[in-house]
């Protein structure tokens, strides 16, 4: 049985506190605090609380001040003010300006108190449920978007996965939190590639010079991704990261010099290094060569490059590849080289981990004798999987 929601009641008057705990305790778990600071301590130590019911007039920190701090520090907790009739003006201000859910007049009849707190707890659950639904929708939509990228442009998808993995390793090496925003930005960084014709993509991957019109198309790739993600709820931070990447993109000679660039945040620096590194090795540049090129780029953060160098130092020369046939593939294996069809179309990009869906698709293609075998699998997982 799920635990009952927790409600915090705050009042400096002992018998009132006892009464509130008794009234609300019939429906919920209740904790009490005799003043604002004690309430904040309880919220931090024993939360999450579904609701907080606070007296207004308390020495030191009054109810409004406390509820404002609760709003800042625990925005999900629903706030109620319990105040004397003589303090109606405060209650009105609490609702209008402090966005307090409701106020309860002292002494509050038990039924009113219980009903209002129940409504507050319902409100808490509604907000959480809506957020959870939004997050699930977002997660599913992103998954669909990246699966589509995998189908349409397997090489771009594979590169995105390599960028993501390298970013994760870099964050760990730099002791930075690896948030889902970085993961999505890493995957999205290659999203625009789906708009490139295969011939342009091929030339780009091989590092060949591009004619002006194709270069223009390539330069527009970050905008494509930013446009696709712009306006999607909760992706603002990802779009910001993409924007910061775009602003100083070294492959954007067309950017005017006066474009103001915000100082790169750690996620931006990590992604910038991962993207450029993967672009270079994707064009066949050696690990040492890629590092040397990155070091010459003033937009790259030296701290991130030192971390990258440390990571790559541990794996240089340790790559270990095994050839397998489609029927020997297993879920979880990582593809070491692009899997191509017999007529030269890339089916799966290097670096992709074999998923049940991918395995099913390859078996299906193999059934029609369309896969060029053997397939190369990276078996030095621990040393090399994340870096390329």
């Amino acid at each position: 049985m799920p635990e009952q929601p927790l409600v915090l009641v705050v009042d400096d008057e002992a018998t009132t506190l006892e009464t509130l705990a008794y009234q609300i305790g019939q429906d919920f778990r209740v904790m009490t605090a005799e003043n604002g600071p004690a309430a904040l301590d309880a919220l931090a130590a024993h939360g999450p609380f579904a609701a907080v019911v606070s007296d207004q007039k308390m020495p030191g920190m009054d109810g409004l001040e406390l509820l404002e701090k609760v709003r800042e520090k625990h925005p999900d907790t629903v706030r109620l003010l319990h105040t004397a009739q003589t303090e109606l003006a405060v209650a009105v201000s609490a609702i209008n300006e402090g966005k307090v859910f409701s106020f309860l007049c002292k002494p509050c009849p038990t039924d009113d108190m219980r009903r209002t707190v129940r409504e507050a707890v319902d409100q808490y659950h509604t907000v959480l449920a809506e957020r959870e639904m939004l997050e699930r929708t977002l997660q599913t939509s992103l998954h669909a978007l990246f699966s589509w990228m995998e189908m349409v442009n397997p090489r771009a998808f594979a590169r995105a996965e390599r960028i993501r993995d390298l970013s994760q390793v870099l964050c760990r090496e730099l002791d930075l939190p690896y948030t889902w925003h970085i993961e999505v930005a890493a995957m999205a960084s290659q999203l625009g590639a789906v708009t490139l014709p295969p011939t342009v993509m091929e030339r780009l991957n091989r590092g060949f010079p591009l004619p002006d019109d194709e270069q223009k198309m390539t330069n527009a790739l970050p905008e494509v991704a930013a446009r696709l993600l712009h306006g999607i709820p909760k992706l603002d931070e990802v779009v910001d990261i993409m924007g910061a990447l775009r602003a100083t993109d070294p492959r954007r000679p067309d950017l005017p010099e006066e474009v103001p660039t915000a100082p790169a945040t750690p996620p931006v620096s990590v992604l910038r290094a991962a993207i450029e590194y993967q672009a270079l090795v994707g064009r066949g540049v050696t690990v040492e060569g890629a590092l040397a090129i990155l070091e010459r780029n003033p937009d790259q953060d030296p701290t991130v490059l030192e971390a990258l160098s440390r990571i790559l130092g541990g794996v240089l020369g340790s790559e270990n590849v095994r050839a397998v046939r489609v029927n020997e593939l297993e879920v979880g294996m990582r593809i070491a080289e692009d899997v191509i069809s017999v007529n030269g179309v890339t089916l799966v990009g290097r670096g992709v981990r074999v998923s049940p869906t991918l395995l099913e698709r390859l078996i299906e293609v193999k059934r029609n004798a369309q896969v060029a075998e053997p397939i190369l699998i990276d078996v030095s997982e621990e040393q090399t999987a994340h870096v390329g």
Binding site: D11, D12, E13, E18, Y22, Q23, Q26, K106
Partner: protein, 119 residues
């Protein structure tokens, strides 16, 4: 009548909670009856010392505690004392408060006795 308000409040708090609720509310009432004289003492000391802010604080606490058990008469006197204190006039209303509390004590005792015997 303050006695009616006290009865209504105590009945409201007990609700249909039976003997256990009566006992819990009895504890809240006992706690109030223990605490109220102390609050009046503190208010009295602060008022006698001319400490308006402190007097207002204790008068406010007494008003809240009294209101909580439905003692509207005592709550009104305490709130009035608080207002005066906040206005810089911590008038000593000790006798009035003591008399009101004595009435509340009698009313609460009667109500709790009635409810205990009725169940």
């Amino acid at each position: 009548m303050s006695g009616d308000a006290i009865r209504a409040r105590v009945i409201d708090l007990i609700g249909d909670g039976g003997a256990e609720a009566t006992e819990l509310v009895g504890r809240i009432v006992a706690s109030f009856l223990t605490r109220a004289p102390d609050l009046i003492d503190r208010f009295g000391s602060a008022a006698a010392a001319g400490d308006a802010a402190d007097a207002a604080h204790w008068a406010h606490a007494l008003a809240g505690a009294a209101g909580n058990v439905g003692a509207t008469g005592l709550a009104r006197i305490a709130a009035d004392a608080e207002r005066h204190a906040l206005a810089g006039d911590p008038a000593l209303r000790r006798d009035e408060l003591d008399a009101a509390l004595a009435q509340v004590r009698a009313d609460l005792t009667t109500v709790m006795h009635d409810l205990a015997t009725a169940r």
